[in-house]
């Protein structure tokens, strides 16, 4: 009942049209993502990251059980951990992104869904007749025509556009931008094409592979609420994350395309 009520409060994802054409992506210095021109078919990409409310509709309709719910192996965060350390918490899943003791999503239905695996995201997409953007599509949409690392120019402006971590490390909680972990989607300024949270909030899982990928490798982009300038600083259009397709982290979600 709570889920249904909350769902009705959240607007369905709207999409931004990306025209077919050739686009500049990558960076001269990036091994995984060298500077090049890519030719894309036209596509649409969601303005917002997929929310808990949207994922709840899928679960309500299908009875789907996520990997973290089944395998009880989600990776969660709590302040006090050394940078890049995460904890496995068997109680964590999309309903309790950082574990039961750290709270559920009852009041966070407009936040991006997290603590899901790639398989879960693909299952949602199949049900919703959408798909994940591929690596190039995500990057073109994130750049919104910009050629540098950030669509807004300089890294120091990131605070206006992205929910990220502002503390020097992760030993103490950081609420300086109003959110320690995820924020509601659309709380920060969009890029020039109207996409919100393209950097920060959650790592967005994409389809596509890179040279050297293993059997279970998938890629995510845009950084997350966990990322800071002193740690991975992935909140940009260049870096490409790499994670096991079976992993469910509380800073990992997705945005759909079609």
């Amino acid at each position: 009942m709570i889920l249904i009520l909350a769902t009705s409060l959240v607007a369905p994802s709207a999409f931004v049209e990306v025209k077919a054409g050739s686009y500049l992506v990558g960076k001269d210095t990036a091994i995984a993502n060298p500077r090049r021109t890519v030719i894309l078919q036209g596509f649409q990409i969601a303005k917002f990251e997929t929310t808990n409310a949207e994922f709840a509709k899928f679960v309500d309709a299908t009875g789907y059980i996520t990997d973290a719910e089944r395998n009880k192996n989600a990776m969660v965060f709590e302040p006090g951990l050394r940078d890049f350390r995460w904890l496995q918490d068997p109680t964590a899943n999309w309903r309790f992104p950082n574990g039961k003791t750290r709270g559920g999503i009852k009041d966070r239905m407009d936040h991006p869904v997290t603590t899901i695996s790639y398989r879960d995201a693909v299952a949602y997409c199949k049900w919703a007749s959408v798909r994940l953007p591929n690596l190039d599509e995500w990057e073109v949409a994130s750049r919104a025509g910009a050629k540098g690392d950030w669509f807004f120019g300089e890294q120091k402006k990131v605070r206006e556009y992205a929910n990220i971590w502002h503390g020097p490390n992760h030993l103490k909680a950081d609420h300086s931008d109003g959110y320690m972990t995820t924020s509601p989607v659309g709380k920060f300024k969009p890029n020039e094409w109207g996409l919100y949270d393209i950097y920060g909030n959650v790592f967005e899982m994409c389809s596509g592979n890179l040279k050297g990928d293993g059997k279970f490798t998938i890629h995510s982009r845009g950084g997350s609420w966990w990322c800071s300038k002193n740690s991975c600083s992935f909140f940009n259009s260049v870096d490409i994350g790499k994670v096991d397709s079976r992993a469910s982290f509380s800073n990992q979600g997705f945005r759909v395309a079609r």
């Binding site: 395998n71 192996n73 002193n230």
Partner: protein
């Protein structure tokens, strides 16, 4: 006019070449690439290695995501077997990480951090961390034996020492480093232990500001020089003595 333009372009290109070490154009030398690969390499302890490797191989391929041996099995192992298992296998997933940018002359750089254990594939679980912490003294002894036997300090070993704050091993680390002064991540390891301890002499140093200042991050680095390595070793030795661990 064309000659002047060409000259300007050549000068500009040369200037930018010296302005940064991540760039298009020049590619890293074989030596640089080899060092980059070396920085991520783990070493394998010898204790029950074949047995443990066989078990780990099956875990890595498990479609049902069971990346850890059962508690019953883990608890039945000797301390040395647990050590080997922990040094060659991470039971947890690692979060999204990226390959480091292409860096010219990586072997001539000293970094603020070394690569995470097991690269971007996996990470130590709480059970594995607890095993190391609860058996700190014995684990540090096995680490020391492994370093002496292998004559290098693998990335997994560096991460373990850092996690255990293994200040006791500073003389061993200095000894290995001084043999050829090529594994600059050993300097990084000693700096991280001094940083974590907020060792005043280190925190006041110019190296600290360059690598761990407020604007620095996991990719920060400085050019290696004999003076720099000498200073880090001197500070590390003083730090060790200050802990009265002899």
């Amino acid at each position: 006019m064309k000659k002047l333009l060409s000259l300007c372009l050549a000068v500009a290109a040369a200037a930018s070449l010296f302005a940064q070490d991540e760039m298009d154009g020049p590619r890293p030398s074989k030596e640089s690439l080899k060092y980059s690969e070396f920085r991520s390499q783990s070493v394998e302890p010898t204790w029950s290695l074949a047995k443990i490797k066989g078990i780990v191989k099956n875990l890595k391929e498990d479609e049902e995501m069971n990346r850890r041996v059962a508690d019953k099995v883990f608890n039945s192992w000797s301390l040395r077997e647990k050590f080997t298992y922990t040094m060659i296998h991470g039971e947890d997933f690692s979060q999204n990480c990226d390959m480091m940018p292409l860096i010219l002359d990586e072997h001539k750089k000293v970094f603020s951090y070394f690569p995470g254990v097991f690269g971007d594939e996996s990470a130590w679980s709480q059970r594995q961390m607890k095993f190391m912490e609860n058996n700190r003294s014995q684990v540090l002894d096995l680490i020391k034996q492994t370093i002496i036997s292998k004559k290098i300090v693998g990335n997994n070993i560096k991460n373990a020492i850092w996690n255990l704050n293994g200040v006791e091993l500073i003389p061993t680390l200095v000894s290995v480093y001084n043999k050829d002064k090529k594994d600059h991540d050993i300097l990084t390891l000693m700096m991280l232990m001094m940083k974590d301890a907020k060792y005043p002499s280190f925190v006041k140093s110019s190296i600290y500001k360059k690598l761990y200042g407020t604007e620095e991050n996991w990719r920060s680095r400085v050019m290696y020089s004999p003076e720099l390595s000498g200073e880090v070793v001197r500070l590390a030795n003083s730090f060790y003595k200050s802990k009265k661990l002899r």
